[in-house]
Symmetry: C2
Subunit: 276 residues, 2 copies
């Protein structure tokens, strides 16, 4: 039987995972144990604080259902989701940067022809979005799949409107032979992340703002290239410096200028990392 | 807007908690963020692994109900509960060591007179438990409150038997004028922690044993002394080296010798840290 002083205990727990057959799981559990124990030792966590932590995590789990993922939200506001993006995106210079995926993507969104309408009835100021998709060697990518999604003028995604029939503010289109793409939508606006659960309690207890800066989501896939998951943000948005999920990167901020009465436009050129 | 490279992101998230009014909460959140990000960076956690972690934590939360606390179990098997005990128990030499509280304590257990029966019908080999309670200055503590609880011969606590009326294997008694105590109970046996939830999946994936060595729980409270939460383990138990919750300390292992036909006895002397 080993001594269970603090140092020895960490080692003892790590060793208890030594027979884990999957070497990657063993590595992850070992690192998790060292950092979890490091946190407890560094803070001198009390029994009462530990119990508050247990109750908080339990409430986060119990807030989750088919339409709500409170643990992703917790990961987002702790910057953990963005750190996962950061450690995985060692791309060549010049490639478009990634950001968080977020909880509002839906697989199988409607196919939209080049120049077609992605808003599909979503409220908001009309906006034309155009740009190009190239690879890191500078070649135009024809037939790349662009999956785009966004909130409407109320700051709500279609999946946040329980009564709504059919997709709004989302669609899938292909880039043209010259790598260009174009679609019609509405200008995105800032919106608050959901604050009616334990993560909202955490943000209030730490006096943190909950408004995300306005953005348009893109997932771009092309053969031979790394899939790009990112947003394009609106320059001048007052929330760019305080995104509660830490998703803003300066290279992803674009102008959305007026383009005639009651209309805007936005242009963005994407560059995907080649992997073949 | 700040750069969100890995290092900068950690700092950015910590700073976002800078306005937290409660300084202790701010300290805890800062440490949590640094260790959480350290874990992600050290392992190079992928999006897929991150999502598996999200799904695991969600399942842990959703396994919890009025009779089951899967997050405490997770904390226990990761050694976190025992580390909280370890960082809080910087006691004077000679004081009895603490260990994990566990999930099976019930407040308001039946009062038992000195020499009385704690088993209250619990199955098992009869056993007399006796000992003394002293403080760290060596003085006998009269009137100390001893809260004791244990599983029966099937390895089950009373709260794990849904149909059972009334308490079994638990009771509250007082030490006598000379600091002594004595009660009748049954010999504890090893038992498995619950493995029908996500924590069970984790133990199976890491080939970890789930049997706790046999033990008797004590919580001892006396005015002017730090409350002691501990177990007494049975010497010779084959699971002492592999307690899944890391609760064993060599100083807490005692003999439970035979004391006549079909009877055992156990003697343990407790020493509580003075705090006044």
């Amino acid at each position: 039987m080993k001594s269970t002083g603090s140092d020895a205990l960490v080692q003892q727990v790590v060793e208890r995972f030594a027979d884990t057959p999957d070497p990657r799981l063993r590595e992850i559990l070992g690192s998790l144990v060292r950092h979890l124990h490091g946190f407890i030792r560094e803070t001198g966590l009390t029994e009462r604080e530990w119990m508050q932590g247990i109750e908080f995590l339990t409430a986060v789990g119990q807030k989750c259902d088919d339409r709500r993922q409170e643990f992703i939200l917790l990961s987002d506001v702790l910057g953990a989701s963005m750190q996962v993006v950061a450690v995985q995106s060692a791309r060549a210079p010049g490639c478009t940067e990634s950001t968080v995926f977020g909880p509002f993507h839906v697989e199988g969104a409607p196919q939209v022809a080049d120049g077609g309408d992605v808003a599909r009835g979503a409220k908001g100021t009309p906006c034309t979005v155009r740009g190009t998709v190239r690879d890191s060697d500078g070649r135009a990518l024809a037939g790349a799949t662009l999956d785009v999604w966004q909130s409407d003028d109320d700051g709500l995604y279609d999946v946040q409107r329980p009564g709504l029939q059919g997709a709004q503010g989302r669609g899938v289109l292909k880039s043209q032979g010259d790598g260009s793409f174009r679609f019609e939508s509405v200008v995105p606006v800032p919106y608050p992340i959901p604050t009616d659960g334990p993560v909202g309690d955490l943000l209030r207890a730490s006096r943190r703002p909950c408004q995300r800066p306005a953005h348009l989501h893109f997932r771009i896939q092309a053969p031979g290239c790394e899939t790009l998951v990112t947003h394009v943000f609106r320059s001048g948005d007052p929330h760019l410096d305080a995104d509660p999920v830490f998703g803003v990167r300066p290279s992803l901020v674009a102008d959305w200028p007026a383009a005639g009465p009651g209309r805007h436009e936005m242009h963005f050129d994407f560059v995907l990392q080649r992997i073949d």
